[in-house]
Symmetry: C2
Amino acid sequence: MTTPRLSRRIPDLVPSPIREILAVIDRPGMISFAGGLPAPETFPKLDLSAVPPECLQYGPSEGEPALRQAIAAQLRDRGLDCTADQVLVLSGSQQGIDLVAKLFVDAGTRVAVESPTYLAALQAFRFFGADFAEFEPATPAAIAGAAFAYVVPTFQNPTGRCLDDAARRALAAACDAEGVTLFEDDPYRDLDYTGGAHRPVCADLRAAPWIYQGSFSKTFAPGLRLGYLACAPEFVTPLTRLKQAADLHSNRVSQWLVLQAFGDPRRGARLREFAGWYRERRDTFAQHLARHFAGLARWELPPGGLFFWLELAAGAALDTRTLLAPALERGVAFMPGEPFHAVEQPRGAIRLNFSHAAPDDAGRGLGILAEIVRDAVARL
Amino acid sequence: MTTPRLSRRIPDLVPSPIREILAVIDRPGMISFAGGLPAPETFPKLDLSAVPPECLQYGPSEGEPALRQAIAAQLRDRGLDCTADQVLVLSGSQQGIDLVAKLFVDAGTRVAVESPTYLAALQAFRFFGADFAEFEPATPAAIAGAAFAYVVPTFQNPTGRCLDDAARRALAAACDAEGVTLFEDDPYRDLDYTGGAHRPVCADLRAAPWIYQGSFSKTFAPGLRLGYLACAPEFVTPLTRLKQAADLHSNRVSQWLVLQAFGDPRRGARLREFAGWYRERRDTFAQHLARHFAGLARWELPPGGLFFWLELAAGAALDTRTLLAPALERGVAFMPGEPFHAVEQPRGAIRLNFSHAAPDDAGRGLGILAEIVRDAVARL
C-alpha cells in the first residue's frame, strides 16, 4: 500500500475527546456526565405533511429568505442591529466555527480565546494553524494583535459562567480599541435558569467587526443540524462563498421546520417550560454534588446551560484525563477539563453535564466519581 | 470601521458562477440551461410520521450505522471492496470535496484534475492552495507527483463524458504506478440513458489509496443535503475527525429518509423511470440543438448526467463569459465553459443543462443563444 501525502495540518488533527466518549456512553448501565445532549423531552413533534415540495430542490447558500428574516428580527430584539441580509443559515453552529476559521486563520494567526473555552472551537482554529492568546473577558488586554476574539459570554461551555454587564462592556470596548473582530458564540441563551437580558456583546461594539452565532440544537433538535450566524456587512460575501464551498446550502426541510417553530405562538411558553425542567435537574444535581464533592472540589451553580465545572481541590497537580479510564471502567463518563484549554496541561478541573443522567443515577455516578478522585488524590 | 485581518486565502475566494447565475434564474420568463437541478418530478413523497424520535438527538459523526451498511452493500455491488466501517455519510457530496481538500491540500500541493472538470471542486481545492496539474484519464502520465487525482469518470460534469473500460484501467494503473491517491466523484451514475456497468475506477486499484463519493441529490432530493464517501482504511479516522470539526454529523432525519428509500422494493423501477424521463428531455434537446447550432458548435449526445457540452466552432478565440450578460438580458441562462478549467482562459465552450427547461422553452432559448453566439463570432 502506498503512503498518501497528507496536508501538513493532519498530524495536529487530534480526536475530539467528547466524540470519543460519546462512542462508549451507549454501553448499558453507563451513567454519562460527558456530553451536552439536550433532553429528548424537549424535542418537537415533526409534522412533515405540509413541507412545501420546493424544500426538496437545491436552495440558496445563504438560507431560506423567510427564516433569515425571522432570525434577524429575533436578533434585533436582543439588541443586535442587523438585517436579514446579514444572516447566514448554518448546518449547525459547528459549521460557523469552521467557516470563521477559514475566513481568518492561517498558520501563525493569533486567535484570542477564553481559558477554558469550547473545545471543538479550539480544535477547528488549531487545525488551520491558530496561535492562541488566552484572555479574560473582564480584563481583555490580551486580545491585542489577534485576528479575532472568540467568546461564549452566556452560560459558557464548559464553565456555565455568564458574563455580567461590566465584563461585556469591557470586552466590547477592548475590541473597539484594538480593532479586533469579535466572534460571539451563543448557543445556550435560552437555557436560562435565572432570567436576565444577556445583551449580546456584539450589540455594544462601535467600530470592531463582528460575527454572532446561535444554534437550534438546544431549543429545537440537534439531529436536524441547524444554526445561524449574523455578521458585519463586510463578512457576508466571503462567508457565503465559504458556505457554498463547504456544503452548497443547509437542509431545507430543517429550515422549514424551524421556521414553523418561529411562528408558533406557544414557543415562548415551551422554551420556559424546558428551562424549568433543566433547572430542576440542575438543582437536584447540585444537592448530589454537595453530598459527594464537599471538600473535594469547588463549583458554582450555573445560571444557565448544561454544565457544572468542578475545580478539584488538588488543583493543577491532578491531570483529570487520568481519571477517565477508571471512571469509564466503573460505568461513569465525564469530560476532563484539560482539552478545554488552548494549552493542554494538567488543570485539575472536570466538566459535568447535569441534565442527561436521571437524578438517582446522577447521585450514584457522582458517588463513584468522588471515590475515583479521592483515590487519585491519595496517590499524588 | 476597522478593517479585519483575513486569511491569506480569502482574496482567492472567487464567487461560484453557478450560484451567481442561480440567483437570477428565478426571474419570470428566464429560460435556464445553467444549473444542474434535478427534476422535481423525481422527488419522493416525504412521510415523517414514522421518523424515530432518536433522529432528533445528536448522532454519530460517521453517520447512521444502518445507512452506512446499506451504502457499503451497494458499493460492493458496484465492485468496490469495502465495509460499512469505511463509509462516511456526508452533508452532500460537496462536503466530501471540502474534507478531501482539508486532508491533502496545503499551499503548493499538486492536485491532478481533468480539464474541464467540476468547477466547485476546483474552487475548494484552490482555496486550500492547490497547484493544479491537468490530466487526461486515458493517458494519465500528468498525475505523477500529485497528492491525489480528482476524476468524475461517469457522465462527467460538465462534459457528460463517460470513461470507457480502457481509460478506467489506464487511470487505475497510473495511480498504482505513481502512488497517487484517487478521488473518484460519482454523483450521476443513476442518470444513465444507455446502460452499462461503469465499474468504479477505485475498484481496479491494487496499491493506490482511494476515496470514492456519491450523492443522494440526483436520485432522492438535493434539498436534504445528503451524500457519502467510502475510502481506504487509512483515511477513515482523519476524515471522520474533519467531519466532526465541520458540522459534528449529518442531518439524521435525512439519513433516515434515505435509508427507507434503500429498503423500498420499487426504488430500482423508480430510478429507471426517472432515467427514462431525463432521456426523453435529452433527446428533444438534441433535436433543438441540431436545428439551432449545426455548424456553430460540436457536441456529443451525453450517455448520462444532466449536461450537453458545446465546443463552439469559433474555438478558444471566444471567451464564452462575454456571452453571459447578453444572454441573461434576453432571458437565457447558461454556464460559460471557462470556470470548469483550472486555468481560466477563453475556451469557446459552454455547458447546457437539458433537463430543467420545458421542451418548447428549450427550443426557443437555444434559438436565442445561437443568435448571440453568431453575433459574437461576427464581431471577432
